[in-house]
């Protein structure tokens, strides 16, 4: 009996001895508690979850040396070695906060990022397809954002007092030399690249990364989709043509091919146009995309876009005296883009790419032919990685080579190679403060210029949903081909940006205000007359204030945004005789975009109202240049997407519902009439409205798939 008792007693004490109680608390570096951390002994079941105040306590039967692992969301995990000796151990653990993509401050000055993957975006990729008035054109949709000016006769992106060519398009980091389809005179052109190809769009209205060069005003960076996960066939029947796309997906890759035929002749026959077409535009386009995962982390993307378009029309003399002239344009375009991305090790990734653009315009005016051709390649290699958990580095080198020729009665040609290297570091002081410092150096073989462009931005989180950010940078771009071909020694044009931004975001609301100042230097300048003496004596400035408000919460089933931009800009460039506001800029631009979902009829209705105050135009009858002022621009556009079946979409859109006769400027006769006045003719829209109807059918195993994201 006694023996039994002793044994029992011994057993109890032994059990008690073999248990070690581990307790303590988990804190941030600044001493604030971290709730719900997982505290455990590695390779055992033993452990617990810390409570709301970071305190924990648990027992273990492990003996000797153990490793305690502490893990909490948003923090770096920590391991502590100790010896479990069968008594209480108390530990204080402090965890270091991870700089986390989702909670860290981002540089928002100048940047509009659209992505469907992330919630932290102001603008989503699907917005491009569903914005009324944009007719699924990337530039059209971005034109409803602040920082852009409506230039109705161009269709391009004019950013903050910059010309259309000052916005550069990049696909997967690679430059696109001619991003817009050809169009008739004073008819808006469309982007060559369809929004559905991209998973993300980053539209910068200034102060962008040192990775991007050869753009004075803006960088439009498009990220193509990764592997397609579904095999599907998409058919589009449009009022202006038809297209068919097939996507084949396999485990480690996918391939897609699209053929699109556009013929607006039947439409033009039905709707009267201001353009005297002989043969309205017809184009055939082929797009091919290939994606393949290579090894565990590599991704190879190939993309090709081939297009031929053709049209002819009659130019009428403003004075109505000469015969009408026949103008014909044939454009051939090829774009090939190959990019490869791979993870080198835990901290570094490497990206390489190559792109080729070939474009050729064969023009005939009154039986006189001239042609313009440009072939360009872009090669690039970039390394991105983390030096420490708070310092991210990006460094790379690239070469952009262009061969340009313009052949009429004389031959004007040039070869230009730009070699560039860039380095940029993101330094996180905490999740609340980041500094981005970058430097880009370029050497231009044509004019012998070596340039150094610093870029610097800061962003500071002022609250859980608000932040302030600032960006500065200098930017360099070669003079436009149309001048460079006459004088290849012209230096590059320069711009400097200063941007201050405040942004407040919640789940479904965004408010942004941004102000900027921009200085232009070394702009192209020449004289009227037989000796233009092209030089870089031009200069200018642009400054402005912009507001953006988006709300998809307050009104049921409704998503809307409002943009307002104020712009004050003057330049003394080209043949200007003083500092003047250029013809493409308007002081006030306003857009209101609304999308309303009506469940009962499976429809989304979209309305966009755009306003731009009058633009200057040059009236040779007046003493001062650019002294004319057009009436204001108003446009009310509408679209309707109807989904009768999961795999079927019917799409209807109409621009300029009210049929307002918008005037973009005036053209003048070269000669004075009998009363000594230059006759004029207004530059108008080709037709008051553009009506578009499309039916989109998707065939796939999963019947719920449709083309909504591709519209």
């Amino acid at each position: 009996m006694r023996l039994l008792f002793t044994t029992f007693f011994l057993m109890i004490t032994l059990t008690a001895w073999s248990q070690t109680e581990i307790s303590g608390s988990v804190k941030k570096e600044n001493g604030e508690p971290i709730p719900f951390a997982n505290v455990l002994i590695e390779n055992t079941y033993d452990g617990t979850t810390a409570d709301e105040s970071g305190k924990f306590k648990f027992q273990t039967e492990e003996k000797d040396s153990v490793t305690i692992l502490v893990r909490a969301l948003g923090f770096y995990e920590r391991r502590l070695s100790m010896i479990a000796k069968g008594r209480s151990i108390s530990i204080e653990v402090s965890l270091r906060e991870q700089v986390n993509e989702l909670s860290a401050v981002t540089i928002s000055a100048g940047a509009f990022v659209a992505s469907d993957e992330s919630r932290r975006t102001v603008f989503r990729a699907v917005d491009i397809a569903t914005t009324a008035g944009a007719t699924a054109d990337i530039a059209g949709a971005l034109n409803t954002l602040p920082g852009t000016q409506k230039v109705g006769e161009s269709g391009r992106l004019f950013v903050r007092g910059g010309e259309g060519n000052e916005t550069r398009t990049f696909i997967d980091g690679m430059v696109v030399l001619d991003a817009y389809s050809p169009s008739g005179p004073n008819a808006p052109s469309r982007g060559r690249f369809l929004p559905f190809m991209f998973k993300g769009t980053s539209f910068s209205t200034g102060g962008y990364s040192a990775e991007f060069g050869q753009a004075l005003s803006s960088a439009l960076v498009l990220d193509s989709k990764d592997n397609s996960e579904l095999t599907r066939t998409d058919i589009g029947l449009l009022s202006v043509g038809a297209d068919v796309t097939h996507t084949q997906a396999w485990k480690s890759g996918s391939a897609a091919a699209k053929v699109q035929y556009t013929d607006i002749r039947p439409y033009i026959d039905a709707v009267e146009q201001n353009i005297d077409w002989k043969k309205a535009p017809v184009s055939i386009q082929g797009i091919a995309a290939f994606r393949q995962k290579v090894g565990k982390t590599g991704m190879l993307k190939l993309f090709g876009n081939f297009n031929e378009s053709d049209f002819s029309l009659y130019n009428h003399d403003i004075d109505g005296q000469r015969e009408k002239q026949l103008y014909r344009l044939n454009n051939k375009y090829e774009y090939i883009n190959a990019s490869y991305k791979s993870v080198l090790n835990q901290n570094w990734i490497v990206k390489g790419g190559f792109s080729y653009t070939g474009t050729r315009n064969d023009n005939t005016l009154d039986n006189v032919s001239y042609n313009e051709a440009e072939h360009g390649t872009h090669s690039k290699l970039v390394f991105e990685g983390s030096i420490t958990d708070r310092v991210e580095l990006k460094a790379g080198a690239e070469a952009i080579a262009r061969i340009y020729s313009f052949k009429s009665d004389a031959d004007n040609a040039f070869d230009e190679t730009i070699g560039a290297a860039f380095v940029e570091a993101d330094l996180y002081a905490s999740n609340n403060f980041v500094t981005r410092a970058g430097l880009r150096s370029e050497f231009n073989s044509l004019n012998g210029d070596a340039t150094l462009d610093p870029r610097l931005s800061f962003a500071y989180k002022t609250g859980s949903s608000s932040q302030v950010s600032f960006a500065y940078g200098t930017f360099t771009q070669s003079v436009k081909n149309e001048w460079l071909r006459y004088n290849t020694e012209l230096a590059s044009e320069k711009a400097q940006h200063f941007i201050l931004n405040y942004q407040r975001t919640s789940d479904r609301k965004t408010f942004r205000v941004e102000s900027y100042y921009k200085i232009y230097d070394d702009l192209i300048k020449f004289n009227n007359g037989p000796d233009p003496s092209f030089n870089n004596g031009g200069y200018g400035y642009a400054r402005g204030l912009e507001f953006f408000w988006r709300d998809s919460e307050s009104i049921k089933n409704t998503d809307y945004w409002l943009s307002y931009s104020f712009l004050d800009t003057k330049r003394n460039y080209l043949n200007f005789d003083e500092s003047l506001t250029p013809v493409f800029s308007s002081a006030h631009n306003f857009s209101a975009v609304g999308k309303y979902f009506i469940r009962e009829i499976n429809s989304q209705l979209g309305v966009t109202y755009s306003f731009a105050s009058g633009r200057p135009f040059n009236n040779p009858n007046l003493a001062r240049m650019n002294a004319g002022r057009t009436p204001a621009y108003h446009d009310l556009s509408f679209n309707w997407s109807y989904l009768p079946k999961p795999y079927l979409i019917v799409y209807l859109s109409c621009t300029n519902l009210t049929g307002r006769d918008n005037i973009f400027g005036y053209e003048y006769s070269d000669n004075r009439n009998e009363s000594g006045v230059f006759n004029s003719r207004a530059i108008r829209q080709p037709a008051p409205r553009f009506i578009f109807i499309g039916i989109f059918i998707t065939l796939s195993k999963e019947k719920s798939v449709n083309q909504l994201p591709t519209l």
Binding site: G47, D116, R119, E229, R599, L643
Partner: protein, 216 residues
């Protein structure tokens, strides 16, 4: 003789080893069972995080077992559902997919894991139907159909598929007949399906019943 001795020794060690494995398995099963019960009873975000932490501790030891990761993923889906901030909803779904992907690497042909994957994609749609629907509805359908292909007796795969079909039919105003058929089939399978795995999930019947209630 010597060989025999060796064999005996080998056999002895083998049985000791087997015994040890069995003991470990027993500990695994009982610990898992305890935590699965806690998971089904969880009511608050803190409850869920606590039990998910337990599953993650088990997963750290049992590196060949898919069940702890499965339940962690399920827990994160529940957290995402309870959370009101859209950004956080997404964060929890990110954690769910990470856990489920790890589990899928261990048991690629497990129907329950494909069902959970379809569930996660379905939750993405709910966060922002307009921009997420087109992509994630298709992905969800794909995963759920694969889950049914792998095991057409799995009531959860059927219930989730029914849910997805119902939502799609409602969205497009088309007939819910197919969804209701899948839903009733799911209810039947909830009664008849018995997994050989003692740790197999049992949730989802209420969801299927709720769905079929709308069918009458």
């Amino acid at each position: 003789m010597k060989t025999l001795q060796c064999t005996f020794i080998a056999l002895f060690f083998c049985s000791v080893n087997l015994l040890a494995n069995e003991v470990n398995d027993e500990k695994y099963l009982s610990t898992m069972q305890k935590n699965i019960d806690v998971l089904y009873d969880a009511k608050t975000l803190a409850d869920y995080q606590t039990v998910i932490n337990a599953f993650e501790r088990i997963a750290g030891v049992e590196t060949k077992k898919w069940e702890p990761l499965y339940y962690a993923a399920f827990g994160y889906i529940m957290m995402s559902d309870m959370e009101t901030s859209l950004v956080k909803k997404d964060e929890y779904l990110d954690l769910a997919i990470i856990a489920n992907d790890k589990a899928k690497a261990l048991a690629p042909a497990e129907s329950e894991l494909l069902a959970i994957e379809g569930f996660i994609h379905m939750m993405r749609v709910a966060i922002d139907p307009a921009s997420r629907g087109p992509k994630f509805a298709g992905l969800s359908m794909q995963s759920l159909q694969k889950a049914v292909e792998l095991n057409n007796e799995n009531p959860r795969a059927l219930a989730l598929l029914a849910q997805m079909q119902y939502g799609t039919a409602q969205f497009f105003g088309s007939s819910t007949e197919e969804a209701c058929k899948t839903g009733s089939l799911a209810i039947v399978k909830f009664e008849t399906y018995k997994s050989e795995n003692p740790l197999a999930p049992v949730w989802g019947k209420k969801m299927a019943e709720g769905l079929t209630k709308n069918c009458q």
